[in-house]
């Protein structure tokens, strides 16, 4: 016979020592990546500069000119690309799997949106381009504004705020301007229910208002009686998150709005959770005066590292005159104008000013409009229905192993809320979250909302399949069971991540924020 003498001798794999160290510290595709300063030498560079071209003479920096090297690492292009690509493999992203962060609406970002956003007519224009040359882009802003107004049943919309909390500030500044116009600037109190987002009281305080809490009922909704009892002539507004952070719809919303309006206050609704009701409920019908919409949540534009956010604010007829500049307006001849300080004239004299330098997040507007038009009104309604269906599937698949404090309150909306009730002594929500990392998931939102002890807030969104939900449910059931029986290995999780459990106290007490060259540090001693 003829024998291939290459030395290759196939045989069944042996089981060996899985913990044996490697020379590099890497574990196959799990790479032990150093800091960029530890890769590149400060003495080298990936690019050759012609020294003679340096402007040694004639600069106008005076004594501000740099005299010592800045100490940046010199890397070649492949070294730089590999460094960040390797780091990205240690990260978690919506493109890798279910991302259960409650209240964050981590849904799939459709690739169609990306294709549209990259069209040169949208991607390669400048905000100062003459309006006649960017009619298409202004048309996108105008069309998106039209949809947002229609979906919310409101009167106008401020498109420029750049994220949810920025939108809150925009809405509150509209309310402040409206009160001052009425000569009622003395109204200084903003009422915020316990079930609202944490940014709400921060926004009100930042705008100069005094924040007062309104308690929640045992079923997790705003205590209407307590709210009514507190209303008076000193109340500027109520800020309500609906659906709220307990994952529940505020059924009394209309009654709340009517009561607030009766005493001359305004209703701000945090629309971060609009995903659960889009196409089914119009906040304008519930008496809302201002509500921000997170395009990066409900309308699928990327966030959580892939951002930026975008937080347009829809406004009632009472508040719209006070909205910020600039905004777009379509004239009868089809031409779209940009209304700014110079052009607003007598049309918009009460605007409180500007939130941003330019029009807002153009790249998010194109993506959001692509999402809206690809779904249509009926598709958006199904988005809300499927989001709620998935969250209730999550809630009812877990409520036998995890305590669901508001489970008896009826169906949840977009997210399912659990507590740490029933865990073995010494076992916490943090242990469950860390163990989920070992299971290959980003942990859920934890310890929020504050009204539930050891809260775990899970928002699956509508873009997850039943198979994906079932796998996550299986993982969380397994981890929850370990927390209840007191499995000690849970206390030291994660075991399989690039780093084990971090010392958060040491990180906060003695943070190391700046890299220093160990050789130089040693020389200095």
């Amino acid at each position: 016979m003829s024998i291939n003498q290459s030395g290759w001798r196939p045989e069944a794999p042996q089981t060996g020592n899985a913990d044996a160290p490697t020379f590099t510290g890497n574990r196959a595709l799990m790479l032990e990546e150093p800091l960029i300063f530890e890769i590149g030498s400060t003495e080298t560079t990936g690019v050759d500069f012609d020294d003679s071209g340096a402007p040694a003479q004639g600069h106008k920096l005076g004594n501000l000119v740099r005299t010592a090297p800045i100490g940046l690492p010199g890397l070649s292009e492949p070294e730089a690309v590999r460094h960040y690509t390797r780091l990205s493999r240690q990260n978690y992203a919506i493109d890798l799997g279910l991302f259960p962060l409650g209240s964050c609406t981590m849904k799939h970002n459709p690739r169609l949106n990306e294709k549209v956003a990259r069209l040169p007519g949208f991607a390669d224009i400048h905000p100062l381009a003459p309006v006649d040359t960017v009619q298409g882009a202004l048309g996108v802003i105008n069309e998106l504004a039209f949809w947002l107004i229609g979906l919310t049943g409101m009167y106008g919309v401020a498109m420029s705020p750049k994220a949810g909390a920025h939108g809150e500030l925009c809405g509150i500044l509209c309310i402040k301007a409206a009160l001052e116009k009425r000569g009622e600037g003395h109204r200084k109190v903003v009422l915020v229910p316990e079930s609202a987002h944490g940014t709400n009281p921060a926004t009100a305080a930042f705008a100069g208002f005094t924040v007062e809490d309104i308690p929640a009922t045992a079923e997790g909704r705003v205590d209407l009686a307590a709210l009514k009892a507190r209303l008076g002539q000193d109340v500027a507004a109520v800020m309500i998150t609906n659906p709220n952070t307990c994952g529940l719809f505020e059924r009394d919303m209309k009654a709340i709005s009517d009561a607030v309006h009766a005493v001359g206050g305004y209703v701000y609704c945090d629309g971060a959770n609009f995903n659960a009701i889009v196409g089914r409920v119009r906040p304008g019908d519930l008496g809302v005066d201002a509500m921000h919409i997170n395009l990066h949540k409900t309308f699928s534009t990327p966030h959580g590292g892939g951002g930026p956010g975008s937080g347009p604010v829809v406004l009632s007829e009472a508040l719209a005159p006070f909205g910020p500049l600039p905004f777009t307006a379509r004239y009868e001849d089809g031409h779209i104008r940009l209304i700014e300080e110079e052009t607003a004239g007598e049309d918009h004299p009460d605007s409180f000013g500007r939130m941003t330098a330019f029009h807002g997040q153009m790249g998010m507007f194109t993506r959001a409009l692509a999402y809206i038009l690809s779904h249509g009104a009926d598709g958006l309604k199904q988005v809300a229905e499927d989001a709620v269906l998935n969250a209730n599937y999550m809630l009812r698949s877990l409520d036998d192993v995890l305590d669901a404090p508001f489970g008896p309150s009826g169906p949840c909306m977009h997210e399912a809320l659990f507590s740490d009730e029933g865990f073995a002594e010494g076992f916490t929500t943090l242990d469950v979250a860390k163990a989920l990392i070992d299971e290959g998931y980003h942990p859920m939102t934890m310890y929020f909302p504050l009204v539930v002890h050891g809260a775990m807030l899970v928002e699956p969104t509508e873009t997850e399949s039943k198979a994906a939900l079932d796998q996550f449910i299986g993982a969380l059931r397994s981890v929850a069971a370990r927390a209840k029986t007191g499995d000690e290995s849970l206390k030291t999780a994660p075991h399989f991540a690039p780093r084990r459990r971090l010392d958060e106290t040491l990180a906060a007490r003695k943070p190391v924020l700046v890299w220093s060259d160990p050789a130089l540090a040693q020389a200095a001693e």
Binding site: Y447, E504, T505, A508, R509
Partner: protein, 123 residues
């Protein structure tokens, strides 16, 4: 010397017209590891209920309220380098500031140790 407690989990030891203020062991347990304490400077005056000091834990930043009115004699400088003293000995070495009471009558509105224990037991 006698010790009084507030519903906001501050304690004050009173010796003559001098009070020493800190947070209770229950409070430090709820906050978790404390990473920073901001104590008031000498001479600062507070009305009862004013924000007097700040503790930051990994979990949250919390205001410490003056349990009684008065002017500050000294802040606990040791907490600058070792904020963890509050975790180790909240009702001893982890004290935050001393003040001269301007209205000892305010002490009547505070709880004694037994009343505070009963208050915490209900939380």
């Amino acid at each position: 010397m006698s010790r009084y407690f507030t519903e906001d989990h501050e304690w004050v030891d009173v010796d003559g017209d001098t009070g020493t203020v800190g947070i209770t062991d229950y409070a430090q347990g709820q906050l978790g590891d404390i990473v920073f304490v901001d104590v008031p400077d000498e001479g600062k005056t507070f009305a009862k209920g004013d924000d007097a000091a700040v503790v930051e834990s990994v979990k949250a930043a919390s205001d410490i309220y003056a349990p009684v009115s008065g002017s500050v004699i000294e802040g606990n400088a040791a907490l600058g380098d070792t904020p963890g003293l509050v975790n180790e000995d909240a009702e001893g070495e982890g004290w935050m500031f001393r003040l001269t009471l301007s209205d000892p009558g305010e002490l009547d509105g505070l709880m004694d140790e037994a009343a505070y224990e009963a208050f915490v037991a209900k939380l």
